[in-house]
């Protein structure tokens, strides 16, 4: 039997498993913890689709334009068009699976989100991820019982089996007893972001280490656009991590200000009258750092939600309010909350084409671990959409390419572990983390990146633990990608190259591990089918 091995059981993994099962194809769904613990359950503000239920004349075309523009024209336009034109069907399907999104009659209510002028974000208070995950977990459970989906809920990927540039399977490890199980068949990676490189600085989970991405890189997979790391403008520091204050806070009327000469200055509204507080995240994060340095301004930026209507608190943001009270001991309805940017999303990752194929045959990737749809900066609400849609496309491609394929016989000779639970450090060392933190902040420069690269390479040479070594290798790839992009675009701001340079850099950054070296090159972005591209894009940009 041709079974697809899905690694990761968040939105992307579940969506892939459901797609395969509904098409009668069996799969394994492998993750170190059950789906209930995946980062996807943390997603708050919502999922985008031009459903146009709010009477604003929204359309897939406008969703496409906002996504391309938000990503500063680095995403593959054909893939983005697929995403945006399918989005209404995707969200409708989630509703049909019984997802308890906020509804009016039988259509989802939509809210405003950053970088989009139309209301386009379907939501369930600020627990949208949890509500979508519940619906998908239940839907997949049916196939777990029928046998089409085989769950390995306490296993992690240990090794990709690649023979003559083709992925033949995986070795997975039972984290409860150390057993190693080899599995044959095509592999679909849905393992989330690379949080282990930035301990304590991300809003996500410690389970998403990026180890699988590092292993894929080590085995020859191309990684794209690694330098684009999203700093979410409104996060707060809590023990061991950054905690997100959802963009929904601003979508529902929250305003950012800094104290200037004793008065609150609503700088986003002043500087960016068009999108104001709901400008794309890269813009807001950069401005937060910049205004703190302006004359007369204090060193703290606040999110003011005190003027929100009591109905908004009750019906739309009650959970966000509870969370602030619990985590910060502050009621956002009564006082402004001090916020600062924190690492929230990795636009870059495992390189895939429009059909979610990597450069290695039989290896697919989807969700946050893959680089697709978001270009240089992701719009809020597009990531869950990208995960569900991408998981589906990857599964359809894997199915198409592997249904007929003659596979080597499954041999499941398990290598016995020592019976003890597997304990791995959740992140790189404090020293390595310090190097990445200092060089990969919101503002970057050649000087810092070059120094960081040398320091990290030295740590790499001295590292003996294979998992840690691969993480450092991944870190080197991020640094080199950031150093090679000598322009400023989206989430990548270079103090030494402050301008956008389309001629040289409206390209995908491709990192490859070859003959023991990390090599980075720039590759052309596909042209939108049936459209003369570039010029029209730049015209659109000018109008903004």
């Amino acid at each position: 039997m041709n079974r697809i091995n899905i690694i990761g059981s968040g939105l992307a993994g579940l969506s892939a498993a459901l797609t395969l099962a509904e098409n009668g194809m069996s799969c394994r769904l492998i993750s170190p913890m059950p789906s209930e613990r995946a980062q996807s359950v943390m997603a708050e503000g919502g999922i985008n689709a031009a459903l146009d239920t709010m009477g604003e004349n929204d359309s897939a075309e406008q969703h496409f334009e906002d996504t391309m523009k938000g990503g500063v024209f680095l995403a593959d336009p054909n893939a983005v068009w697929g995403l945006c034109s399918d989005a209404p069907a995707i969200v409708n399907r989630l509703c049909d699976l019984g997802a308890a999104l906020r509804m009016q009659g039988s259509s989802p209510v939509l809210r405003n989100f950053g970088g989009q002028k139309k209301k386009r974000t379907a939501y369930a208070k600020s627990s949208t991820g949890k509500i979508l995950m519940t619906a998908l977990i239940d839907a997949v459970r049916k196939y777990e019982v029928s046998g089409l989906v085989e769950r390995y809920a306490n296993h992690r990927l240990e090794e990709l089996i690649i023979e003559s540039s083709q992925c033949r399977g995986v070795k997975i490890k039972n984290i409860r007893n150390g057993d190693i199980i080899p599995l044959t068949g095509a592999v679909l990676l849905a393992v989330g972001g690379m949080n282990s490189l930035f301990p304590g600085l991300t809003t996500g989970t410690v389970i998403n280490t990026g180890d699988v991405t590092a292993e894929a890189f080590f085995k020859g997979a191309e990684l794209y656009n690694l330098e684009f790391i999203q700093y979410h403008p409104t996060t707060v520091s809590v023990p061991e991590k950054r905690c997100l204050i959802s963009e929904a806070a601003r979508g529902e009327g929250g305003r950012l200000f800094v104290m200037r000469n004793g008065e609150p200055w609503y700088f986003m509204e002043d500087k960016y009258p068009e999108y104001g507080n709901l400008s794309p995240r890269d813009v807001v994060s950069r401005e937060i750092e910049l205004v703190k340095k302006e004359s007369g301004c204090g060193n703290s930026v606040y999110l003011d939600m005190t003027k929100l209507d009591s109905n908004v608190w009750k019906n739309k943001l009650s959970d966000l309010r509870d969370e602030c009270i619990e985590l910060l001991g502050k009621d956002p309805a009564a006082e402004p909350i001090e916020v600062s940017p924190g690492i929230h999303y990795f636009m870059g990752g495992i390189g895939v084409d429009e059909k979610h194929r990597t450069n290695i045959k039989g290896l697919y990737a989807a969700g946050e671990c893959a680089c697709q749809y978001h270009g240089a900066n992701r719009l809020g609400g597009n990531s869950m959409l990208g995960a569900v849609y991408g998981g589906r496309i990857a599964a359809l491609t894997a199915m198409e390419e592997n249904r007929q394929e003659q596979q080597p016989e499954e041999k499941t000779d398990i290598i016995k572990g020592d019976g003890c639970p597997v304990m791995t450090e959740s992140s790189i060392s404090a020293e390595a983390a310090g190097i990445l933190k200092d060089s990969l902040g919101i503002f970057r420069s050649e000087e810092k990146l070059t120094k960081a690269l040398a320091e990290l390479s030295a740590l790499y040479e001295n590292e003996s633990d294979p998992v840690m070594k691969k993480r450092l290798l991944l870190g080197r790839a991020v640094l080199l990608s950031a150093s090679e992009r000598r322009e400023s675009r989206g989430a990548h701001t270079r103090t030494d190259y402050p301008d956008r340079n389309d001629r040289e850099f409206r390209k995908t950054t491709v990192a490859l591990y070859k003959d023991g070296n990390v090599v980075v090159s720039m590759r052309d972005i596909p042209v939108k089918r049936g459209q003369a591209d570039e010029i029209s894009d730049r015209d659109k940009e000018k109008k903004v």
């Binding site: 913890m33 613990r37 049909d96 699976l97 019984g98 369930a124 949890k130 023990p239 304990m423």
Partner: protein
């Protein structure tokens, strides 16, 4: 602030449990039990208060923000999420941490909660046909979608034990979404399973009510599901 963290440890289910105490100092007022465990595990080497070198503490965590249920354990006698257990809100500066007791221990604070997931499979917790959630009962469906599968409610439930027929509140909550949405044949079979695995075993004392770290309105879901099972289904079309 200085805390003494006493942890119940064992290498595996077969080994005898024992307690080990660690000193943990922090300036953070909001430091949680999870932050303490994470910090202890970063120590190289990790030593207890007697200076003896110890193995790293085995425990589960993921979101560190009370959204995933991974870190449920018994802290000062109360089942709760370690990442929500603020140390200076506990009684005294001595903190006792034990694994949930209703599940087999894998090691230290890491327990095997697979029976919870197995229960949902056994009950048949899914929608056979597509069923759109409307606005009518949105709040109830939302509430029923929030269960973390953490197991805290099972810890305090006098009627739940591993291997028994009764699946407890951790099954009731997700199943109540489906009971509310379904009609027809699947509703009949789900009602039957609900009776067998949930309704019949539950003493309805609501000992589990104030334990849920997600703050789910358990009583409302229970009342609704019980009435769907007993009579409300007659009025559904």
């Amino acid at each position: 602030m200085k805390y003494l963290i006493e942890i119940k440890r064992r290498r595996s289910e077969k080994d005898e449990p024992y307690f080990q105490t660690f000193e943990y100092e922090t300036e953070l007022e909001s430091a949680t039990a999870a932050a303490a465990l994470a910090e202890l595990n970063r120590r190289k080497p990790l030593r207890d208060i007697n200076g003896a070198e110890c193995e790293r503490i085995v425990w589960e965590c993921s979101c560190m923000q009370k959204k995933c249920g991974a870190c449920a354990m018994v802290i000062n006698g109360r089942p709760q999420l370690a990442c929500a257990a603020v140390l200076n809100e506990q009684k005294g500066s001595k903190i006792k941490i034990e694994p949930l007791s209703k599940f087999p221990v894998i090691a230290d604070l890491y327990v095997d909660r697979s029976i919870m997931f197995e229960a949902l499979r056994q009950i048949g917790a899914w929608l056979d046909e597509e069923k759109r959630a409307g606005d009518k009962n949105n709040e109830l469906l939302y509430e029923a979608s929030r269960c973390l599968q953490c197991g805290c409610c099972l810890e305090v439930c006098p009627n739940f034990y591993s291997g028994g027929d009764f699946s407890g509140m951790a099954a009731l909550v997700p199943v109540s979404r489906l009971l509310e949405e379904l009609d027809g044949k699947q509703s009949r079979s789900l009602r039957k399973q609900y009776g067998k695995h949930i309704y019949n075993g539950c003493g309805k004392s609501l000992a589990c009510r104030n334990i849920c770290p997600a703050g789910i309105d358990i009583e409302k879901l229970m009342v609704n599901s019980n009435s769907v099972m007993l009579w409300k289904h007659l009025f559904k079309k």
